[in-house]
């Protein structure tokens, strides 16, 4: 194989890529945008629960029990003041006990306790706060439940160390960087097919194998370099650097295979964009399960980027190493090689 020819083709592709102003701009501005957004997002998570209360008197023992760095209790003079505070976002939830709470209890009545909730409280937490209100009520009348509850955290204790929004976004940025380069490569290939330059290349000593090698090297290395820049600038290589670099490299090869498939299906820039958006949506799905943990589902494992996202996310946020997430690299590599092979086989027919 003529190494000089392969190198010449890679150089040519780099020039053609940046000759396309759209992709040149998207590549440069995209990186800047992702890094900027990363640093604009909060680096920490505010775990404090702000509770407002309207209560005739808060027994000292109960006040001691509720004292916690993560819980702030504010007392209000009336239910209207508490309601206003919840609406303004000063407190997240409010319990308004009636002023004659203890009298009603002594008389055998059932006092009504109002629970005010801020709009952002999720439905699954409403019942939790209702239960807390009941337990608080029992505590107030001196009738605590005769049980002792001990907490056992299964896995890393993230109390005080919740994963910051920017860290949750990082895998999404990495996938986006790889996908943009994937679309760029696909567009480049489609343009070469339409202009007939592929045919001109293939009536020289350059073989089909050499052509695909050049395209694969260009696509993979170009995407890899950008992903590395992103991760390096955002501190994504501070932990398990070699593991993450390996995952990113394999991910870059995966996206090159996707690019070949898109180029095989696309006829022009518009169709490449269309197919590319579909591919982006599918490939980015695993990143949403990191952003919103409740979205996690087993079928996401069928998407190859799940293994890339899982590796980055867990190594950076949970200290996972080769033993914990190294196994992800096998399905990731297998998917990459499969897509690359499929892409080459289908695309070759367009070249012929």
């Amino acid at each position: 194989m003529n190494v000089a020819a392969i190198w010449a083709l890679i150089q040519k592709d780099v020039r053609l890529y940046f000759a396309n102003r759209l992709f040149a701009l998207v590549t440069a501005l995209g990186l800047v945008a992702y890094v900027t957004i990363y640093f604009l997002l909060p680096a920490t998570v505010d775990e404090t629960v702000r509770i407002g209360m309207v209560i005739p008197s808060l027994p000292p023992a109960l006040a001691d029990a509720l004292a916690d760095d993560a819980v702030q209790i504010s007392q209000f003079a009336s239910a209207d003041e508490l309601r206003a505070a919840v609406a303004a976002g000063t407190v997240t939830i409010g319990f308004a006990f009636p002023p004659d709470l203890y009298d009603q209890i002594r008389q055998g009545a059932r006092p009504a306790v109002e629970l005010f909730l801020a709009p952002e409280v999720t439905p699954d937490l409403v019942s939790v706060y209702e239960a807390a209100g009941r337990e608080l009520s029992f505590s107030l009348i001196g009738q605590e439940l005769p049980v002792t509850i001990s907490e056992v955290v299964l896995g890393p204790d993230l109390a005080g160390a919740q994963i910051a929004p920017r860290q949750r976004m990082l895998p999404l940025f990495a996938v986006l960087v790889l996908m943009v380069e994937c679309l760029g490569l696909a567009s480049l290939i489609v343009a070469e097919v339409e202009q007939g330059t592929i045919r001109a290349l293939l009536v020289t000593p350059l073989t089909m194998r050499g052509l695909f090698l050049a395209k694969s090297l260009f696509g993979s290395l170009f995407a890899f370099v950008q992903a590395v820049v992103l991760m390096a600038v955002t501190g994504g290589l501070a932990q398990a650097a070699f593991l993450n670099l390996t995952a990113l490299l394999i991910g870059s090869v995966l996206m090159t295979g996707v690019a070949f498939l898109i180029a095989a299906l696309g006829r022009d820039l518009m169709s490449v964009m269309g197919w590319g958006m579909l591919a982006l949506l599918i490939m980015a799905l695993p990143t949403f399960t990191v952003l919103i943990p409740g979205l996690a589902a087993d079928w996401v494992r069928l998407i190859p980027t799940h293994y890339l996202v899982d590796t980055i996310y867990r190594s950076l946020n949970f200290g996972a190493g080769w033993s914990e997430v190294g196994g992800n690299l096998a399905p990731l590599a297998g998917s990459a090689l499969l897509l690359l092979a499929m892409g080459m086989v289908i695309l070759q027919r367009r070249f012929a």
Binding site: A4, A8, K12, Q195, G196, T197, R199, A200, V203, T204
Partner: protein, 287 residues
């Protein structure tokens, strides 16, 4: 005697049910310029693709420079140059960069790009982006690219189609220079004037078959008619045309009678064109 540059034996190709090339056979000697004439859809480009290893024949074989094309396409492609009908240059690169890229693909390390550009009349424009070239300039660059590896066989597909006379003449000059260098030229064209002027032999192809293959002179002798064409003033004062076939016993008398009886405005001798011969052989024109 060296082997022919091109040997086509029973070449056949189908596009689905359409038989595009129908068992054609011919040879092209080294240093010869062969013209391949035929209308659109006749099978010219398909034949060229089979000869250059872009398509694998359904049956038959092509041997170029003693090498079986189907078995060793890359060996053949390293020794031929191809100028496609439609420009397929990298328009975002300069002329120089286009040529240097292909020089590297052919492993040509001593290419004098500027000299090559000068040869095709593009000196001073090599650093411009190809996207800014005119059609004629692009075609010249296509020729230059086909010459990068100093090919033993040059395949030119409609090299002067749609070009201004100056560009067309420049390209014809390069073709002749290459032939004088020893290259074999396989020229497909609609232009019968070009074929007549450049080609040692021409082949007529129609509906996938070669209907004639000989020198232009022999084809005209065999199939053409020499004639005299006269423009006369008719009884109503309008111009009319009369043709008298030459080389017949009654020709002298007819000409004498014409001159004696008619008011002759112009008198020209003509020989059949290759297109006339093609029409006679196939019933259709070259366009």
């Amino acid at each position: 005697m060296p082997d022919p540059a091109i040997v086509a034996e029973d070449l056949t190709y189908r596009y689905g049910d359409l038989l595009a090339v129908d068992h054609i056979s011919f040879t092209v000697e080294r240093g010869e310029i062969l013209g391949f004439l035929g209308p659109n859809g006749a099978g010219k480009s398909t034949t060229v693709k089979m000869l250059t290893g872009q398509l694998r024949p359904v049956s038959g074989r092509a041997v170029l420079l003693g090498i079986d094309v189907a078995r060793y396409p890359k060996r053949v492609q390293s020794r031929i140059g191809i100028c496609f009908e439609q420009p397929n240059l990298y328009e975002e690169l300069s002329g120089v960069d286009n040529l240097r890229l292909f020089a590297r693909l052919f492993n040509v390390s001593d290419l004098d790009v500027d000299a090559l550009l000068r040869r095709v009349g593009l000196d001073g424009r090599g650093r411009d982006l190809v996207g800014r070239y005119s059609k004629g300039m692009k075609q010249r660059l296509m020729i230059a690219r086909a010459l990068v590896n100093r090919p033993d066989i040059l395949f030119l597909d409609e090299p002067t189609e749609g070009l201004d006379p100056a560009s067309a003449e420049a390209i014809r000059r390069v073709i002749l220079e290459e032939q004088q260098r020893g290259a074999t030229v396989f020229l497909t064209t609609h232009d019968m004037y070009e074929a007549d002027r450049l080609c040692h032999r021409v082949a007529f192809i129609n509906s996938g078959k070669i209907v004639a293959l000989d020198t232009p002179h022999n084809l005209k002798q065999q199939y053409g008619k020499r004639m005299v064409r006269a423009e006369l003033v008719g009884p109503d004062g309008a111009l009319r045309t009369r043709e008298i076939i030459l080389d017949r016993p009654e020709t002298p008398a007819e000409i004498a009678d014409l001159l004696a009886r008619e008011q002759v405005v112009t008198l020209h001798s003509e020989e059949a064109t290759l297109e006339d011969i093609f029409i006679r052989l196939t019933g259709r024109g070259l366009a």
